[in-house]
C-alpha cells in the first residue's frame, strides 16, 4: 500500500507556532496602526462641536491652523460620557495624566472641589477678550476660563403651545407647569447625570427659595406623578423622546434651540424659548462652559497656548453654529439665525440668586432631597 493511503499526523508544534505567529502579527499590526503618535490631547464630552454641518471635519478646520503653527498633532478626545465623566476620568488618571487640556467644565461642575484638584489655574494673556462678568460667573480663580455660554431654559413646540392656546406662556411660572394639563407635557433630564437637568433643578431652587421664599420641594412633589417617567439620563435622550412624542410640549434645553431649528430647517423655527417670569422679570439659568489646564499634564506650555488659541476668533467664530452656544469672545459676529435665540443679557440670570458657596455647600443635600421627593 502506498504511503498516501495512511493519514499523516501533523506536528502540533507547527500548528501552534503558526497560530501564535498569526495572532502576534495581528495584534502587533493593530497595535502599530492604532498606537497614538505624540499628540496634544484634549478631553471633552461626546457632543463637543458636534452639531454643525461637518462634524467629521470640524476638528481639522478649527484646530488645523494651531497644529501647523506649533508643529503638533491635536487630538480632541470626545469621551463617551458627559462632563462629569471627564472629571472622573481625570481623577482616575491623576497618577499619570495623559491629557493636557479639558473642555466643557461648566459653572456648576467647577464648584466640585475634586474638579479643582485635577486642574491647574491658568490665566491666558488674551483673557481680556472675555467679559469679566462671564469669568466671574465661571471661576474667578481661573482653574477654568470660559469657552462658551448660553441659557438653560424651557423650550416648547410652537404648533402645540402658543399665546392663543396657552396665554400663560408669555409669563410662564413653575406653578403654570404644575397644572394638570401641562404637567405631563414636560420632559427633563436627571440632575445627577446631565448638566441641563442640574441647571433646571438649581433654577427651580433659586426661584422658590430666593424669589418665592417657599419650600422648593413642594413643586417637585406636585409634579412627581406626571414627571417621574419623563426624566431622561441626558439631554440627547431627552430631546429624542421630546421630539418623537407629540404629546410632550416642553423640554428643559438651551436658549439657542430655536436658532438651531431655524438653521437646519431654513425657515421659521417650530420651537420657542420660555424663560420663567417672576416679579415682572424674565429669568433663566446661565451655563458657562470652560476649559482648563490639566494638572501635571505632559505638555503644559502647548496646553496654555491651546487655551489662548481657543479664545481667539479663529476658534470662537465656529462656536455658535457648531456648538450652539454663544462664543465668549465678544468680537465674533453671530449668524443671523441667532436672532431666534435668547441671549443671557435679555434675562435676569438665576445664577445671581445663588452664590457659588451656597451651591457648593448644599448641592449634595439638594440632590438627595430631590431623590427623596421624586421616588
Amino acid at each position: 500500500m502506498s504511503e498516501s493511503y495512511y493519514p499523516e499526523r501533523r506536528d502540533p508544534r507547527k500548528i501552534v507556532a503558526a497560530i501564535v505567529a498569526v495572532v502576534i502579527i495581528v495584534i502587533a499590526a493593530f497595535a502599530f496602526f492604532t498606537w497614538p503618535r505624540p499628540k496634544i490631547r484634549i478631553y471633552t464630552y461626546d457632543s463637543f462641536m458636534a452639531y454643525g454641518e461637518n462634524p467629521d471635519t470640524i476638528d481639522e478646520t478649527v484646530f488645523g491652523p494651531f497644529e501647523e503653527r506649533y508643529g503638533v498633532d491635536i487630538e480632541i478626545t470626545r469621551l463617551q460620557t458627559d462632563a462629569n465623566g471627564i472629571i472622573s476620568r481625570l481623577v482616575a488618571e491623576s497618577d499619570n495624566p495623559v491629557a493636557d487640556v479639558v473642555m466643557g467644565i461648566d459653572n456648576i461642575l467647577i464648584l466640585q472641589s475634586l474638579a479643582k484638584q485635577v486642574l491647574t489655574p491658568y490665566e491666558p494673556e488674551n483673557l481680556s477678550l472675555v467679559e469679566q462678568q462671564l469669568i466671574d460667573a465661571l471661576d474667578s480663580e481661573h482653574y477654568v476660563v470660559p469657552f462658551d455660554y448660553g441659557l438653560v431654559t424651557l423650550i416648547y413646540k410652537t404648533n402645540r403651545v402658543n399665546e392663543t392656546t396657552h396665554p400663560e406662556i408669555a409669563s410662564l411660572t413653575f406653578g403654570d407647569l404644575a397644572t394638570p394639563e401641562l404637567a405631563s407635557t414636560l420632559i427633563t433630564e436627571n440632575p445627577h447625570l446631565s448638566s441641563p437637568g442640574l441647571a433646571f433643578l438649581l433654577s427651580q431652587i433659586a426661584v422658590y427659595e430666593k424669589i418665592l421664599e417657599e419650600d422648593w420641594t413642594t413643586w417637585w412633589s406636585e409634579m412627581r406623578p406626571d414627571l417621574q417617567d419623563n426624566v431622561y439620563q441626558g439631554w440627547t435622550e431627552a430631546w429624542t423622546a421630546w421630539n418623537g412624542n407629540p404629546s410632550k410640549y416642553f423640554l428643559v434645553s438651551y436658549g439657542t434651540d430655536p436658532a438651531y431649528s431655524a438653521w437646519w430647517t431654513e425657515s421659521e423655527p417650530d420651537t420657542a424659548v420660555a424663560p420663567f417670569s417672576y416679579q415682572d422679570e424674565q429669568w433663566a439659568w446661565m451655563q458657562v462652559e470652560g476649559m482648563g489646564l490639566v494638572k501635571n499634564g505632559p505638555n503644559p506650555e502647548i496646553g496654555k497656548a491651546f487655551i489662548e488659541y481657543c479664545l481667539s476668533e479663529a476658534v470662537q467664530s465656529y462656536v455658535a453654529t457648531n456648538q450652539w452656544m454663544f462664543p465668549v469672545n465678544s468680537d465674533v459676529t453671530l449668524d443671523p439665525v441667532f436672532e431666534y435665540a435668547i441671549h443671557p443679557d435679555e434675562v435676569n440670570t438665576l445664577n445671581s440668586l445663588l452664590t457659588s458657596e451656597e451651591i457648593a455647600a448644599n448641592l449634595a443635600d439638594w440632590l438627595d432631597d430631590y431623590d427623596n421627593v421624586m421616588s
Partner: protein, 353 residues
C-alpha cells in the same frame, strides 16, 4: 527485546485504607506471568505500579537489574493493553497503532512497515483505514495489542484484556495472545480474574489475595498443589474439607470428616484438625456400599466429562465422572442418594491460613 523484572517488597497504602504488598515477584526474560485474583485483590494496582502510574511507598522495582521507580511510564519501555481498549477515538486504526512510533519520531516509511507487519501478525490489515467506532470489540483488542507492541516494548502489560469479550471470542484470542507472545518472545505480565484464562495463557501464575501474593507457580503446580484454602477454592477444583486426624501411619492418614472416616496420603500428627482439598476428577461417585453417603444435587454436562454436584455434610462438593451407568441410575433414583470415595493419593493437605 525482553526484560527480567524483579519486584521486591513493593508496598503501598491508599487513602481509603486498602493496602497492597509487600509484593515479591520475579518475571524472567520472555516469560508470561499472570497475576490472578478476585476483584479487589490488588492485581491491577500491582500492574500499574510496574507500569509507573502508581508509585509504591516502599520497595524496589528492577528491570534487568536497574531500579526504574524514578523513570516515568513512557520511558520504561512498556506496552499496555486495558480491558476497555482505550483506543484513541480521535484517530483511525492506523494512527492508533502508529502512535508510539510517531511519538518516537520514526521515519514515515519505517512506521508504515512496522504497522503493516503488526497488522499482518494480528490479522487486522483490512481494518487499518477504519475509524475506531467502526470496529468490533474483538477487533479493538487486536488493535490495542498491535498498538502496545508497535514500538517493540521490552515488557507487555495486559490488564484484563479479554474480560469484556464473549466466551468464544475470548478463547480464540487467548490462543492468539499466547501465540504472539511466544512469537515475539516478549516478557509479559497478564492480569485476569478468570482461572481458565490464566491457565490458558500463562507460563507462571501468581495468585493474589488481599494485596499479597499467596502462591505462585506453573498452572500445573497451582492446580495440583494448592497451598491454601483460598488457592484451592479459586484455582483448583474448589473442594475443601476439614477433618481430624485419627491415625497417622507411614504417610497414610485416617481422617474423620463429619462422622465419616476417609483415608488420605500425607504426614500429620494424630489428633489435629487439617484442611485438605481433592480435585473433582479424584472424587468418585457410585451407588455401591463403600464410601461416605452424599446426595446428588445436579448433573452438568461438560466437554469431556459430567460434573456432578454433591451435597456432603452441608457443603457442596464437585465431582467429574464419565460413569454413564451411574448417571443413568441416579437420574432414575428418587432420593438421589449416592456414595463418594476419594482417590486417596490425590488429596492435598493445605496450610492453615
Amino acid at each position: 527485546m525482553m526484560v527480567h523484572i524483579e519486584l521486591e517488597n513493593m508496598k503501598r497504602v491508599f487513602r481509603d485504607g486498602t493496602r497492597i504488598g509487600p509484593i515479591n515477584l520475579t518475571v524472567d526474560d520472555g516469560e508470561l506471568v499472570t497475576l490472578l485474583g478476585p476483584s479487589g485483590s490488588g492485581k491491577t494496582t500491582t500492574l500499574r505500579m510496574i507500569a509507573g502510574f502508581i508509585r509504591p511507598e516502599t520497595g524496589i522495582l528492577r528491570f534487568d537489574g536497574e531500579d526504574v521507580l524514578d523513570i516515568p511510564p513512557r520511558e520504561r519501555g512498556i506496552g499496555m493493553v486495558f480491558q476497555s481498549t482505550s483506543l484513541f477515538p480521535n484517530m483511525n486504526v492506523f494512527q492508533n497503532i502508529s502512535f508510539a512510533l510517531d511519538m518516537a519520531e520514526w521515519e514515515r516509511k519505517d512506521v508504515i512497515d512496522r504497522v503493516e507487519e503488526l497488522a499482518h501478525l494480528l490479522d487486522i490489515e483490512r481494518l487499518l483505514a477504519r475509524r475506531i467506532d467502526e470496529i468490533s470489540g474483538g477487533e479493538a483488542q487486536r488493535v490495542a495489542l498491535a498498538r502496545a507492541l508497535a514500538i517493540r516494548p521490552r515488557l507487555l502489560l495486559l490488564d484484563e484484556p479479554l474480560s469484556a469479550l464473549d466466551a468464544q471470542l475470548k478463547e480464540r484470542l487467548q490462543f492468539e495472545v499466547k501465540r504472539i507472545q511466544r512469537h515475539l518472545g516478549i516478557t509479559t505480565i497478564y492480569v485476569t480474574h478468570a482461572q481458565s484464562e490464566a491457565f490458558a495463557v500463562s507460563d507462571r501464575i501468581a495468585v493474589l489475595n488481599d494485596g499479597i501474593i499467596v502462591q505462585e507457580g506453573t498452572p500445573e503446580e497451582l492446580y495440583d498443589k494448592p497451598k491454601t484454602e483460598f488457592v484451592a477454592r479459586f484455582v483448583g477444583g474448589g473442594n475443601v474439607f476439614k477433618g481430624r486426624v485419627i491415625e497417622s501411619i507411614d504417610g497414610r492418614l485416617q481422617v474423620e470428616v463429619a462422622d465419616e472416616i476417609v483415608e488420605l496420603q500425607g504426614e500429620a500428627e494424630e489428633g489435629i484438625e487439617i484442611v485438605f482439598t481433592i480435585k473433582p476428577e479424584d472424587i468418585v461417585c457410585s451407588l455401591s456400599d463403600t464410601g461416605v453417603p452424599v446426595k446428588v444435587l445436579s448433573i452438568i454436562p461438560q466437554i469431556g466429562a459430567y460434573k456432578v454436584i454433591l451435597q456432603f455434610n452441608g457443603t457442596e462438593v464437585d465431582s467429574l465422572t464419565n460413569d454413564m451407568e451411574f448417571l443413568r441410575a441416579i437420574r432414575l433414583s428418587d432420593d438421589k442418594s449416592a456414595r463418594m470415595r476419594f482417590k486417596t493419593s490425590e488429596a492435598v493437605i493445605l496450610e492453615r491460613e
